[in-house]
Symmetry: C2
Subunit: 148 residues, 2 copies
């Protein structure tokens, strides 16, 4: 709650309660919420907050590099306050997004793999996203129960 204020001020972006609140929610959760989810979590404490403000805020935080945007397909863009490279799993049944930490690929991405892609594609690569799609443990269980 200190660093972020400085980062914003450095970029001449005003520090507002709304921005702090959105960031704070993303910092606390591991659910990778979308805009609507963030809005709902905010409601109790900030009943006056507008959905448009949440859209604008995640955009600002993203451009400043404080959060990253995930694109898993359904349910809109998801947001993550963890900006270091890591992969994600998406449950196609319930829409849950989990982190997959400590894949050796995560470090791998920085060097060998990235160089190879740059070489092969000629692109100037600035970001990587690795997504896994499937069914989460909870949904697998429910599917089992249902079919018995």
């Amino acid at each position: 709650m200190q660093a972020i204020e400085e980062i914003l001020r450095t970029k001449k972006i005003k520090v507002t309660p709304q921005r702090m609140a959105v960031y704070s929610i993303l910092k606390k959760t591991q659910a990778h919420p979308n805009v609507e989810m963030i809005f709902q979590k905010l409601k109790p404490d900030y009943p006056a907050m507008s959905l448009a403000t949440v859209y604008k805020t995640v955009d600002v935080l993203k451009r400043v590099g404080l959060i990253q945007e995930l694109n898993v397909g359904e349910s809109g863009l998801r947001y993550d306050a963890v900006v270091s490279p890591h992969s994600h799993v998406y449950c196609e049944k319930c829409g849950k997004v989990d982190d997959v930490d400590d894949l050796e690929l995560d470090e791998f991405q920085d060097q060998a793999l990235l160089n190879k892609v740059i070489e092969k594609s000629g692109f100037n690569i600035s970001a990587v996203q690795l997504y896994f799609f499937g069914i989460c443990p909870d949904c697998s269980e429910k599917l089992m129960e249902g079919s018995i």
Copy 2:
């Protein structure tokens, strides 16, 4: 143009000129077009075709497994008739999507990596997508010229 008809008939899905046309376009191109692009390419030969039909068609082809859907962020979902595992680069400037073939990661994905993710996450993984984001050679060049 033979196999696809059989695949559709097997699943009791009717073979129509529109469906064949959409698939044929995806089969020919490497541009990973979105629905609008497919629609535009179709127009000369199928002036009566509706955009809604293109949406419905890519959905059918995807569910049957004849094409895959890519989610690079901007410019809507992209479609690819190559369904074998391979990665993609996305140009954040012009929206171009290219293939990145022959990453050892592509075979890697099938086994070791997948097993590790399944173990770590508890998810039942059915698909993987690896995206690289950056600037393509053409856009890099234009940026250079512009800044001189």
